[in-house]
């Protein structure tokens, strides 16, 4: 199981050829209490870096970008009713969407867990 991170604090966790996309623990802490999540429709094709979802907290509204190109195969509909899950368990139950990864080599450009932790340290 590989998890990769973007500079915009999204993670993608690969399970087979499907990537589970969410936001990092650092991102949820910076956002503060999440109050609203807008998810894409299933079947939507996303290019790497395209807007995939929207997360709104008491502080700000932010876009979630697709870490790699792919097609949306599943979304975490529960977040619409209980957006607080993103704060409670960002890496687990607080996932946003599942992407059918188009080109696995795009993952190589993203940060590993270790690199991401370094990155977070450098900006905080």
């Amino acid at each position: 199981m590989t998890t990769r991170y973007t500079k915009d604090h999204e993670y993608i966790r690969l399970e087979g050829d499907t990537g589970i996309v969410g936001i990092s623990d650092y991102a949820q802490a910076q956002l503060g209490d999440v109050v609203y999540v807008e998810l894409p429709s299933i079947g939507k094709s996303l290019a790497k870096g395209a807007e995939a979802a929207v997360v709104e907290s008491v502080k700000a509204a932010s876009e979630i970008y697709a870490p790699v190109s792919g097609e949306v195969v599943e979304v975490n509909g529960e977040l619409e009713a209980t957006p607080g899950t993103v704060n409670e368990d960002p890496a687990g139950r607080g996932w946003f969407l599942k992407l059918k990864v188009k080109d696995a080599s795009e993952l190589d450009a993203l940060m590993t867990e270790e690199q991401y932790q370094e990155f977070v340290k450098s900006i905080s």
Binding site: D33, V35, E56, V58, P83, G84
Partner: protein
């Protein structure tokens, strides 16, 4: 500590020991229910005779139940609205340091002029021949706005800042289309520090926004702009002075680069109040700029009155100015209402009528009563006041771009609060306890925990000194670790701190009748 008469000697202690009141009122701070909750079915302020028996002709559509209009006696109605008005905080009750909002004094002279029957009683559909005086005011105001900005023409009708942005950008779009570049030029450059309305305006009319990244010094650099320029760029939207309270020191070079690339320069004029009489935006190379009469020229806003956002246009954009506009025919002013009657190419119309007439009168009164020297001094005093606050707090607060002079507003970040356990939000809430409206918080977004303070020229030195002393006292408290003063603030306001998370997650969007009312309506 109690004094000999048993009265607490410090203000803070009075509140701490207070017994919660039976009514929920806090002495003069009275709580006030909605008017629908205090009205009674059987009460009325006027005696109306019972209608005589008659046969309704509504074909069975008569109302079957009481509709629940509140019934109040005249004293009850009077108390209701007076109490509500007392819950307000406005520029007439205290210093209003909200950055980027320019809450300056609204002179009573402006109000008096706006209430002259010749201005207050005119109707937009009146024949033009009966409103020559009003047209004269609009024409004179236009002339002053064009002179102060050194531009070619002005579109008066936009109703506020963002509406003015839209007007200016639509003029730019019309100019691009007239050149046959409508399909290719579809990108607008917007700095990261811009007002959120800038990218929203560009996106609304179909442009793609390309952000100009923020720099550590708070300025937009011409080199960064040049890197983003290309044949696809339609315009830049730049705020000057910018939202960090700094004058864009490369603005002339930026304007030149933009023009060399065949694009247009939209200037967000929200902060024009800092440079009136000191610099003319036309000299800086702008093509379009909205002017917030409700900020720069002291017409009421923030609940006190409507905004008004005229847009000045350079010679390159003037032909595309929207209708209506004023022209002189044989020395007599008249309005051009239809694009087909214009000799130029108006892009269309922004408003049903002519804009905020009352605001035009107020703004022109402000201009005439101040004169060119007075307006210049107002800009200077606004900048001086902001810098007085900056210098007086510089040892306690942190400035994101170093210790350098600001324009009309001073920007602090929250680096100085690090490890105190107090956030910008907590600090702002504690200011409410001290009787001040908080400053602008968390904007601009490019600065962490931003606190943006704009005192305006309206405040005296004594008023600024008290404000500074209050902020210093709070800052020292935070640094000493007195977190309680902040975490629970406001303590003394009619309402305590709101649960923002709950309000956003489970908003109550519909008023429901409280039980006693429902019974009374039976």
């Amino acid at each position: 500590m109690l004094n000999r008469q048993g009265r607490p000697t410090a203000a803070g202690e009075a509140g701490t020991n207070a017994h919660p009141t039976f009514t929920g009122n806090k002495a003069l701070a009275q709580i006030e229910p909605l008017i629908f909750e205090i009205g009674h079915h059987e009460t009325t302020g006027v005696d109306l005779d019972e209608p005589e028996a008659f046969t309704p002709r509504l074909g069975g559509l008569e109302r079957k139940e009481a509709i629940g209009l509140p019934g109040l006696s005249e004293p009850e109605a009077m108390r209701h609205y007076v109490r509500l008005s007392q819950m307000n905080y406005g520029i007439d009750t205290g210093l209003f340091p909200l950055g980027s909002c320019t809450m300056k004094h609204n002179a009573r002279l402006n109000e008096r002029m706006a209430r002259l029957p010749g201005f207050s009683d005119v109707h937009p559909l009146q024949p033009v021949s009966t409103v020559r005086g009003a047209l004269e005011v609009m024409d004179e105001l236009s002339r002053y706005l064009v002179t102060l900005t050194n531009t070619t023409t002005v579109a008066l009708s936009p109703k506020a800042g963002a509406h003015g942005e839209l007007c200016g950008m639509m003029a730019i779009k019309a100019a691009i289309e007239a050149k046959g570049e409508g399909k290719t030029r579809n990108v607008v450059l917007v700095p990261d520090s811009a007002h959120g309305t800038n990218p929203a305006t560009a996106a609304l009319i179909g442009f793609t926004v390309r952000p100009v990244p923020a720099r550590d010094d708070g300025w937009v650099h011409v080199d960064d702009v040049k890197k983003l320029l290309g044949p696809d760029v339609a315009a830049i939207m730049l705020t000057n002075p910018n939202t960090c309270g700094l004058f864009e020191n490369q603005v002339v070079e930026i304007a030149k680069a933009i023009h060399d690339a065949g694009a247009y320069f939209y200037c967000d004029g929200a902060n024009f109040n800092a440079i009136v009489g000191k610099a003319r935006p036309g000299d800086l190379g702008i093509d379009a700029m909205h002017i917030n009469l409700h900020k720069t020229f002291s017409t009421p806003h923030g609940g006190g009155g409507p905004g008004s956002g005229p847009v000045v246009l350079s010679a390159r954009l003037a032909p595309f100015a929207p209708v209506p506009f004023i022209t002189a025919e044989n020395g007599v002013l008249t309005l051009v209402e239809q694009a087909k009657d214009a000799t130029e190419q108006p892009f269309g119309r922004m408003t049903a009528f002519h804009g905020q007439m009352g605001m035009y009168v107020r703004a022109l009164t402000y201009m005439l009563s101040h004169g060119s020297d007075g307006m210049k001094q107002a800009s200077e005093d606004a900048v001086l006041n902001a810098n007085y606050i900056r210098a007086s707090l510089a040892d306690l607060f942190s400035q994101p771009f170093g210790d350098k002079p600001c324009m009309h507003e001073v920007l602090f970040d929250d680096a100085w609060l690090k490890d105190t356990g107090v956030t910008t939000l907590d600090f702002a809430k504690a200011m409410i306890d001290e009787g001040y409206h908080p400053m602008t918080m968390y904007f601009p977004l490019v600065v962490h925990g931003a606190m943006l303070i704009e005192p305006t020229e309206s405040e005296s030195k004594a008023s600024l000194d008290l404000f500074i002393a209050a902020l210093r006292d709070l800052a020292m408290s935070a640094k000493k670790g007195e977190t309680e003063r902040f975490s629970g603030a406001p303590y003394h306001a009619p309402r305590r701190r709101l649960d923002e998370t709950r309000a956003a997650r489970t908003p109550v969007l519909k008023w429901t009748k409280p039980a006693p009312f429902a019974e009374a309506a039976e």
